[in-house]
């Protein structure tokens, strides 16, 4: 199993490094979004006397620059591609293997992330020059961040797998996916740091996995969380990985039965 992961990840690294220009364009295109949020919130902070919800323009800059890496860690096999995966029979081939197909996805996209992290470093340097972030992480914070971005990756892989598998039953899924992504955008810390959301939205987010894939890794590095909260956050990530994993198993069993029936 470990061999499988290493080989798959190595393939991904070699493949994606060949397409480094395309990868770069994609990453640059992604930067517009956090820059917009950063400018809006810096303007608000400036209008409120330099601080809003505990964030200054400097910490906002740190938040949204780290955001760009976390956003890249959040890229997994997209639910939109499930329709194609089912229709063109790619899945049939993967079903013949003695290993659950999700491992292939985790390993491949995981390897890709290594390339992305390397490509991200110069972008982060450039953004830091432009926006002057305030960032002074402790060793523990850096360590928790390094683990938490991979926890985020696993949680999102599991939940988007479960969501994508809805395609086993119907192909009219785009509205459902977009509703999911809209909720995620609002309640994950992607649009705004969690502490700026109204209290009822924060309570709602406590029952959802979203903030553990986005807000938590960023705040682990940028915020001033005490050690207990940092480690507790990693615990919450483990919990949501378990929930996501169980969900994937459940939907997968039912879905594959359904898939077999269609294939005759």
């Amino acid at each position: 199993m470990i061999d499988f992961y290493i080989t798959m990840a190595r393939t991904a690294v070699m493949e994606q490094f060949q397409y480094r220009t395309a990868n770069y364009f994609y990453m640059i295109g992604m930067i517009a979004e956090p820059v917009i949020y950063l400018v809006v919130w810096s303007t608000v902070a400036a209008a409120q006397g330099g601080e809003v919800g505990g964030y200054t323009p400097g910490t906002f800059a740190a938040y949204y620059i780290v955001w760009t890496l976390v956003r890249n860690m959040n890229i997994v096999f997209t639910p939109y591609a499930w329709e194609w995966r089912i229709k063109d029979g790619t899945l049939s081939a993967e079903l013949l293997r003695p290993i659950h197909p999700i491992h292939g996805d985790i390993a491949y996209f995981g390897g890709w992330k290594l390339v992305v992290i390397v490509l991200w470093l110069p972008l982060a340097a450039l953004l830091s020059l432009l926006f002057r972030p305030t960032l002074s992480p402790t060793l523990l914070e850096i360590g928790v961040f390094a683990v938490a971005i991979w926890g985020a990756y696993l949680i999102r892989t599991a939940f988007l797998w479960a969501l994508g598998m809805v395609s086993f039953w119907t192909t009219r899924v785009s509205a459902l996916f977009e509703l999911y992504f809209a909720l995620e955008l609002l309640l994950s810390g992607r649009l705004v740091p969690m502490s700026l959301l109204p209290p009822w939205a924060q309570r709602l987010a406590d029952f959802l996995p979203f903030q553990w894939t986005f807000g938590f890794p960023i705040e682990a590095l940028v915020g001033e969380l005490p050690p207990a909260q940092l480690l507790g956050g990693l615990g919450m990530q483990l919990l949501w990985i378990a929930v996501g994993w169980a969900l994937v198993q459940l939907v997968w069993r039912a879905g594959v039965r359904r898939y077999g029936a269609v294939g005759g």
């Binding site: 295109g29 930067i31 820059v35 400018v39 977009e178 609002l186 649009l191």
Partner: protein, 259 residues
Amino acid sequence: MFRLMYHYFRVGALNELQYRVNFLVQLLQSAIALGVGLAGLGVVFSHTTDLGGWTRPELLAVMGVHTLMLGLINAVIEPNMQRLMNDVQQGTLDYALTKPADAQVLVSVRELRLWSLLDVILGAIVLGVALAQLGGQLGLWQTLGFAVALLLGGLMIYSLWLMVTTVAFWVVRVDNILNLFEGLYAAGRWPVGIYPGWLRGLLTFLVPVAFAVTVPAEALTGRLTAATLGLAAAIAGGLLLLARLVWRIGLRRYAGASA
């Protein structure tokens, strides 16, 4: 020319009318996008009463114009440019070039994604609500200024898309550049005045979001000066000519490749 456009759009509309369920799907998606936009605006204004000199209803008006313009881009400009890019890639552009009409007009009107016009209606509704909240009287000149500014902004965006797509004659795939454009267009949901200088320049002259969204919104909120409108007209005219030129040069390149 206008008769040709009318007939193409009519056929496109009839074609889309066959797929009624797509209307519902688009309605849901537009509603979700609108909901997210409103929520974002709500969060911002739960912490402040003014953003770079714009009040909440004024920013609602900006959002309305943004949605409206996005609907126009998605309905008319984007599908035609996608098809042009595919035609260049597959060599099927010949079918358009051999027709006895101006090729640039033809490639710009062949597709119409009717249901995307829903965003135009939604944007207009948001705009209406914003104007009602603002309460002031809307004079004839303001309305006229808004219409002209909107038209000029649309022409600028069309010219820019045509130029970027024309680059496909040389490098074939320009998807990534178009992605970049879509990212930058999202910046137009907020008035460009709040962005730092270098970014404002980018959003004004490279990707004319400033002229497409902020300037029409300025017309409605009584901020538009004659000088700005004149500048918009000059830039729109210049970009149209430039796009025409780039298109002609690109076209020559295409003919050279297939011969």
